[in-house]
Point group: C2
Chain length 440, copies 2
Amino acid sequence: MVTRKTNPETARRTTRDTRGRAAALNALYAQSGGVTAVINASAAAVIETARRHPSRIDRLYAGRNGIVGVLEEDLIDTGRESAAAIAALRHTPGGAFGSCRYKLGDPERDRARYERLLAVFRAHRIGYFFYNGGNDSADTCLKVAQLGGALDWPLRVIHVPKTIDNDLPLTDCCPGYGSVARYVAVSTREASLDVRSMASTSTRVFVLEVMGRHAGWIAAAAALAGDRRLPLPLVILLPEVPFDAARFLAAVRERVAQHGYCTVVASEGVQTADGRFLADSGATDAFGHAQLGGVAPLLAATVKRELGVKVHWATADYLQRSARHLAAGVDLAHSLAVGKAAVELALQGHSAVMPTIVRVRQRPYAWRIGTAALRDVANVERKLPPEYIDPGGFGISARGRAYLAPLITGEVRTPTVDGLPQYAQLKLVAVRRRLPGFKA
Amino acid sequence: MVTRKTNPETARRTTRDTRGRAAALNALYAQSGGVTAVINASAAAVIETARRHPSRIDRLYAGRNGIVGVLEEDLIDTGRESAAAIAALRHTPGGAFGSCRYKLGDPERDRARYERLLAVFRAHRIGYFFYNGGNDSADTCLKVAQLGGALDWPLRVIHVPKTIDNDLPLTDCCPGYGSVARYVAVSTREASLDVRSMASTSTRVFVLEVMGRHAGWIAAAAALAGDRRLPLPLVILLPEVPFDAARFLAAVRERVAQHGYCTVVASEGVQTADGRFLADSGATDAFGHAQLGGVAPLLAATVKRELGVKVHWATADYLQRSARHLAAGVDLAHSLAVGKAAVELALQGHSAVMPTIVRVRQRPYAWRIGTAALRDVANVERKLPPEYIDPGGFGISARGRAYLAPLITGEVRTPTVDGLPQYAQLKLVAVRRRLPGFKA
């Protein structure tokens, strides 16, 4: 056992000696893909839960920059971090151990990398692998679990779900989504009041671009900004609804005529009926260079040109998924719970599974942790279902609202000093290498 | 007197009868220009302070959509709003009574409008005019005060300062600035952690565009995101420092080489040495239509092309100035104080003045309210002083940091229901018109 003593080496050896049995296996945690405002909460829960089982899990390592660090044997000893630092991960955005965009291919064709992974696992006595990510990492988890079984190494692989895109199947929602949804809903509400107050002589239309390349979950959350108490003239553009410029302009024109202003919230993945992304429509700068895409400026220019009104636009990009200061309490609780459940599932002997969020009751919202087999999760992308979309195509239905509303609830505080949030300060001490070098 | 009784008409008449003297004059409040996260706090303070002086101020009206509503005699009776609704203005973003972009010209050339203003003031017995805005409205205040004096109407005109741009002279800072500064500092800190965790395999540079067409105060606040405890590789682009593409790229390259990533925070007003705005460099979309400007996508494309690294960008636009959920407590206190002081100055007989913020002590920060004559304020724009800018040109100096740091401090809560902020619900009851129509 390690972790809470000042000198882990001594502590570990002592425990072993007294109990007079072989050391427990080590565990490995890694973050994958785009980070969320609360992915580190899952990390905290994995680490804290592992620390409560010193007789089963000896050391818990983290891959530096995700699976890349695992492949390159660049591991971090989480046992060197204080309990306070680990607890502070709850309110620290980004990926505290580093994440990566790195997809492992098919084991048949990418054999060298899988073998390297297994070699690292063996060299560091890794018996538990917790991989915190979205669709791609679920797929990687499954392959690693299968390979581990084939190679007769006692490996238990648990996928810890995380994605702002909310597109994993078999779970009611994905940890990370509730917080970005809250960011979008709150920002849309705030900015709409701004536009409303300026509309008589200035800006009449505000366009906000949010993430969601393939599914409209994030943009859909903007619908929560308006409610019976505060109705807002919103036009929401989802990738699930083919973009039609004429219908879009008519919807904006109608809202401006009726309310004096309109807020447009567009998913970056908005596309025309022929499957072309609006953002890829080939804008160039003054020198003829291709511009980085952007749905918001494109829509803003269209509205300005066609409706002749003043338009402002914003693109939230990373701000939305790093906004820990606006995290939803429910989302934080989910993120902690899947981290804890991952370790417990592994200790119960499960592998190639993922803890899920199960909605138990709608109002008041209640949930519990469930389990899904990774073979049913990997590479399945859950889009916004048609019944969640308003028939008009520019908003969400009552069912969609009922689904979304509980996910953005719950206030959570961030400790601040002089107005600025304070984050976990990790030592990120490297584990001594045991293998020859390898370039991921 | 009005305001706190259920039937203001009766209450007002009764007061008059008992005291046996002529009714007090009425007052008028109006919001001007781009709104801030806390302009409504000033409105709350003006209204609440006026209500404490019923023998001096009878009714307090608000111009609907600012001075446009005044010109068009579209006035709102704030006396019809409950004390709770007025108190809730403290945490309501946008301009609760509507604002406008509308500049009154020179009284000589724009005589009809000034005469109309005075006619509205006379018709509604307006003896006090509180105008809540930035440079333009300070100028309007001064002209109205002068005209009122010339036309022998007992009018006291007080400018209530407000601008996210922080560019009014003779005040240590402008109410509204501290909150946008906090938004920029917190967002930059959060997003930097996001980029840092992705940089090994994905995005290395993140560009955030913030407001500030003529002065770099808002962009400068990003420097607070990094500190000794959490050093961040930032490049800040200010309008005060001529943009040089080669120097900019070298600064980004150096930070990426040293830290693995870099966060660029650019003022929308960044310009080249010849005074050309970067955002106006004439980008067109695929159809040859001019794009709405945007410094962030332009810089992102430049970095991507020249340094060959993956770049993400965000444009905060209205999100930054409507983000009441991130308001700075100090800024809220300033906004309340200038509103209260405005009414008190008027009651003391002052006119053509503006309450100011005076910094009394640096650490711990202490301040008090001062006064400035509008003839010294109007049309003077305060830029970021050279001594606040880091010699390298991409950050702020220790003096700049010392100035900025206290302004983003102080936590303030927003009441929320189901994760969403709750705002003042005003009745906005119109005052009966007494004059012929007028088109502003």
